[in-house]
Subunit: 198 residues, 2 copies
DNA sequence: GCCGACTCTGCGGATATCCACAATAGCCGC
DNA sequence: GCGGCTATTGTGGATATCCGCAGAGTCGGC
């Protein structure tokens, strides 16, 4: 479920934001502490994060850092009450999606959150495609993988046979297994698949 | 020449920064006004930009916008005296490389400038490759381009012949011209070239 | 010890691709 | 009008790729 996760230790703000977003049909989950969200986070969690900078315990920035190191790629929008340019710059350079000062304009914030949710959805779609690809790649044997790499590098079968020290016929066999497992019919299609072309 | 361009209407700051960077062997050019730099800018200008936000006449932000719309992709580092988070956020989201508040730490600024210069050099190298590619693409005739697209899409010659309503032989001729002009030997190489694969 | 995988190889034929030689035709500029 | 560029097509042969049929050796699990 693609949800807006609001992490803020101020219950009044969580409630107010919850109200705001639910009235715009954006599903919301509130978290009273960075630690709680960090604990609950899972790689398959979809949506985006609205993160207060200043909180009791772990700060929003630290939560962001920890999520990044866990591999989280959910878009993050920071909320901050006291403008601090260096913090904003560093957060954005680390990949935060936005950095909004309180008091904020409701409509603007909603727009940014909706953008972020859409971005996350697209990103997940791309990654789903990549996952299917990875699954198919995983069914290849070592040898098949080697042959595939050389095919995608543009080598002819005879050259591949040479480089691997095996017969052309064997290369053909591996090559055809690769095509079959990767569900393509030509070397060009395989190349596009692996280089992530449109 | 890869130069640090300092745009600031305060001569004292230009001088101070000029001194700082020249002492670190970074070539510097000073510009007293955004208008002057905008006028002088050329697409082949290499290096990076150190841009004061608040200036007489055109502001640093407006200069940045205008450069962007002219297609300038030089890395830009903003210098500002009065921290303004929304401005910083918007500049970074537009692609500015950094946003530094005065007073700044000399060493840190130098590091960021050097990073930016290195980035620009890399970017130019990539673009030089792309330019060579574009030049070769420009030598193709319409028909050759059509055939090329279908080849890169993974179609067999007979299919291409069908789709274009011409004979296979003609497709072969165009195809071989494409390979020759693009300096590749196989369809896979051509695909990698066009999809920008490593 | 048998079965299943992965790997390796050969033979021969059907397709596909690459290319030299050869020719026709439209268009454009000098 | 002639020369150059582009597009078109054919013939025929050299290579390369695709595949079914067949067999063989290794290794690991039941």
């Amino acid at each position: 479920m693609t949800t807006l996760h609001i992490v803020d230790d101020d219950e009044a703000i969580r409630d107010a934001l919850g109200w705001l977003f639910q009235s715009r049909n954006v599903p919301v989950a509130g978290w009273p502490a960075a630690e709680a969200f960090l604990e609950a986070w899972r790689p398959d969690m979809a949506g985006c994060l609205l993160l207060d900078i200043r909180m009791e315990g772990m700060s929003g920035l630290e939560l962001f850092d920890r999520l990044l190191s866990k591999g989280c790629r959910m878009p993050v929008i920071f909320l901050t009450g006291h403008g601090d340019v260096p913090i904003a710059v560093s957060a954005l350079k680390k990949g935060a999606r936005d950095f909004v000062e309180k008091p904020f304009n409701d409509n603007e914030l909603v727009d940014r959150v909706i953008d972020a949710l859409a971005f996350d959805a697209e990103q997940r779609e791309r990654e789903a495609g990549q996952a299917g690809l990875a699954a198919r790649l995983a069914t290849l044997t070592q040898r098949e993988r080697q042959v595939m790499e050389l095919v995608v590098a543009g080598r002819l079968n005879k050259v591949i046979a040479d480089e691997l020290g095996i017969s052309m016929r064997t290369v053909e066999v591996h090559r055809s297994h690769v095509f079959e497992k990767m569900r393509v019919k030509t070397a060009v299609e395989l190349t596009r698949l692996l280089t992530g072309a449109a």
